[in-house]
């Protein structure tokens, strides 16, 4: 090689190393997120987790869910509820928007009106429960609900991010909103789509001191790359749960800590209970009793999970009925007996059928791009085929699966499946939304993908919605879970535990929020 070339190469290598040192000196908190979250406004963030958590570092709610899922006053200082429908809210004094404008009751009234008129899945439904807003003074506002709603503090006050009226008043198309500005502990300094967000502490913040001067949320889509970056010290925390197979390696690593806790996102098996065969509750019970749940958790999650409960709610949920905590298990011999009572006998090929020619043979949809659910479907098919119920697993792309199980996200449009793998995100569990899951009225049971209907369940869930006394409400929800465990329009297979890894040298103030994990507002504030 020419001497000059050698010198040039050496100089280049040296300056690359020097720039690496310069860049990595004086580090901010570096967090890996899973995908782009838009401009981090209530209308442009993308995912409930972690997008909503990131967005609410900027936009805040009147109440904040704490680590134990109890709503605590946040922008609100106090709340009095009269006649179950009048919510008189006293706002916290001295709260400023990040541009220095005071936050007032007018902003609260404006926000609720805005969510009502600008439709967005998560916020419009809760905002629409409010029929009247009365601003008494700058710091006092009364919301009146159309009907009592036991969950309104959690699903409304602790969920709706407040919008600054003076900014949003002129915004007609909120999906194209680019300016993120709220009352929160962090300001958005820079957003590079699909690359990263740079947030800085809001020095004027009214509440607890922000834990970081600078927070980088970098988009790393690939799971393996995320954890390689954590190992290499390029990020300090990942919002993504650690895959079961690598937990041990991280636990052994000296510079990485792992926190583990309950995870509320569920993995379930849904059935179209209007199909011949599946419309017989005895058949559904045999299906539920033939699945080896322990094996699913052991094989698919390497034990890092919680067995599904017949009552759907995670055992860590305060509303979970301890009496519906486990599925009954039966042997293949018992299967023959049970199905015999239901009028089914084994055909020549070993598959049960009845006198009307109904064969217990079903197609089982599973998402091709979710290996855990696909494998779960295959394991369940083994169990059911052994029991004489013929199950054919069909793997299809996830959006296609959703379109068949939940056409246009509107259960009134019916369904086109027999058995399908599915899952609900954490809020369905955290909010104990059994009414959404099971109500036969499609405007109320908006998540009722199975086409299930039971007058008693309708009555119980309607009553639970308006019962504000916690004990009475719990009692009603217990009874709904008992009905669900008997009728089984859906089978809850397991809950994947949340396992999160971070570099304690960078920050070790992460706290675990029940059902969700370490990424929630409390972790980003010094307390």
């Amino acid at each position: 090689m020419h001497v000059l070339t050698r010198i040039a190469v050496a100089a280049l290598a040296w300056s690359l190393l020097a720039s690496a040192w310069a860049v990595n000196h004086g580090l901010p908190m570096r967090m890996a997120i899973t995908q782009d979250e838009g401009t981090l406004t209530p209308y442009t963030y993308q995912t409930g987790y972690p997008g909503y958590e990131l967005m609410t570092l900027i936009y805040e709610q009147l109440f904040l869910m704490d680590e134990d899922l109890v709503p605590q006053p946040w922008l609100a200082a106090s709340l009095d509820i009269h006649d179950d429908v009048h919510y008189r809210i006293e706002l916290r004094e001295g709260v400023m928007w990040q541009d220095g404008t005071p936050f007032t009751a007018d902003d609260v009234a404006f926000s609720i009106g805005y969510y009502q008129t600008h439709v967005l899945g998560r916020f419009t439904t809760s905002a629409n429960k409010v029929v009247d807003v009365e601003v008494a003074s700058d710091l006092e506002v009364t919301l009146t609900l159309a009907a009592p709603d036991a969950g309104f503090v959690q699903t409304g006050l602790a969920d709706l991010p407040m919008l600054p009226r003076h900014v949003w008043e002129g915004i007609d198309e909120p999906r194209n909103m680019t300016e993120a500005m709220g009352t929160g502990p962090y300001r958005l300094i820079e957003y590079q789509p699909e690359q990263f967000y740079r947030l800085a502490a809001n020095d004027e913040y009214w509440g607890p001191e922000p834990a970081f001067d600078t927070l980088i949320a970098a988009v790393i889509r690939d799971e393996t790359a995320t954890f390689q970056a954590l190992q290499a010290g390029e990020i300090d925390v990942a919002v993504r749960p650690v895959p079961a197979g690598t937990v041990e390696r991280f636990e052994a690593a000296r510079d990485i800590d792992v926190q583990q806790g309950a995870g509320f996102p569920s993995t379930i098996l849904i059935m179209d209970v209007t199909q011949p065969g599946l419309d017989d509750v005895r058949v559904r019970q045999v299906i539920a009793s033939s699945i080896d749940y322990v094996r699913l958790v052991d094989i698919l999650l390497l034990g890092y999970g919680t067995l599904g409960t017949p009552g759907f709610l995670h055992p860590a949920n305060p509303f979970a009925n301890p009496d519906t905590a486990e599925y009954e298990r039966i042997t293949p011999e018992q299967v023959a007996g049970r199905l015999g009572e239901a009028g089914y006998t084994r055909g020549g090929d070993g598959v049960f059928e009845n006198a009307d020619g109904v064969r217990l043979a079903f197609e089982f949809l599973a998402p091709a791009n979710n290996p855990t659910r696909l494998r779960a479907a295959e394991l369940i098919a083994l169990d059911l085929n052994a029991a004489g119920i013929r199950v054919t697993v069909r793997s299809i792309e996830n959006e296609a699966l959703v379109q068949r199980a939940w056409p246009d996200f509107d259960v009134s449009q019916g369904r086109d499946f027999e058995l399908s793998m599915f899952g609900w995100s954490a809020p369905v569990n955290a909010q104990a939304n059994l009414r959404g899951l099971l109500h036969s009225d499609t405007t109320k049971g908006t998540l009722n993908l199975s086409g299930y209907g039971d007058p008693e369940v309708d009555r119980l869930t309607d009553e639970a919605l308006v019962t504000t006394d916690p004990d009475a409400r719990r009692e009603l929800l217990y009874r709904v879970q008992e009905r669900l465990a008997d009728d089984l329009p859906l089978i809850t297979l397991f809950y994947q535990d949340g396992i999160y890894a971070y570099r304690p040298a960078a920050y070790d103030g992460w706290t675990y929020m029940a059902g969700q994990g370490i990424i929630h507002k409390g972790s980003f504030l010094r307390r």
């Binding site: 300056s15 690359l16 720039s19 690496a20 310069a22 860049v23 990595n24 580090l27 901010p28 890996a32 782009d36 838009g38 209308y43 442009t44 993308q46 409930g48 439709v119 967005l120 899945g121 998560r122 419009t124 439904t125 999906r175 194209n176 680019t178 590079q192 789509p193 699909e194 690359q195 990263f196 740079r198 600078t214 980088i216 970098a218 988009v219 790393i220 889509r221 690939d222 393996t224 790359a225 390689q228 970056a229 290499a232 390029e234 299809i396 792309e397 996830n398 959006e399 296609a400 959703v402 379109q403 068949r404 246009d408 996200f409 509107d410 009134s412 959404g436 405007t443 908006t446 998540l447």
Partner: protein
Amino acid sequence: MHWYLGRIGQYALVLLAALSLNFLLPRAMPGSPLRFLAGEDVGMLAPAQVAEIRARYGLDQSLGAQYVTYLRNMATGQWGFSYQLGKPVLAAIRDRLPWTLLLVGSSLLVATLFGIFVGALAAWRRGRGLDTASLTGAIVVDSLPTFWLGMILVAVFAVELRWLPIYGAYTPWGPRSGLPYLLDVLRHLALPATTLTLASLSGTFLVMRYAMLDTLGQDYIRTARSKGLPERQVLVKHAVRNALLPVSTVVFLNLGFLIGGATVIETVFSYPGVGTLLFQAVLNRDYPVLQGAFFILTVSVILANVIADLVYPILDPRVRGSGS
């Protein structure tokens, strides 16, 4: 002239067909963009509200009506807003294009030059150590899955040695101008570009090697040698120049895919190129982005072909005769 007009007609037809496919294919995919128009919790909305959203984005119209609107919008340059990014499609693509050009362009350049050089050398030393080694190497690297290759490079150079960064195109909190920024960008480019170079190396190499072998067997090479020309001159002036013809076709074809990005590599390295934009648009059923991006892709592939058509007669005088 006649020849060119015919070509232009052909390309216009291809373009129209591509435009129609770009409209139909995204809509033929099962699933809908609703989740991205109404938020993740679209299931909480009443059916009437869902219908309202569909109407606002024109998704309630018949496919025919949507097609007419689409053609009109494409023609007038109103490519619409991305469902997921909330910004104009053109702006979304423009943001990504420079990174893709940098990544794919640099890899293509290195892969082409290296492929030509090693290919020529291997053919010249046919059957010897260098030939066997490079041929085996090319076939092995070619058969490795790209993402796996990338992961291995990451494991070695980023996780173990910690020489190079794993994700992104530059350091979010680092310098944004001058030499330090340039060096930061180069450091971030190193691993993805190396992976992509390795992955695309074998194409040029193999074509070059076979073309060169073919050329070396020609009479004019024997003539050149018997004239007593130095071997180096025979190789460079007589053999390589002629062997480059088929290689140029490969290069032009590759150029067309330059702006399509390298989806797998961009995903593995979180590189903000057009590839990840497209991939995400497919997952999210982001029709406007799919239509816009595929249109630009189509045009660039066609353009690359046009350039190849125009340049080839210059490179190879033999074609000129048959063309006119």
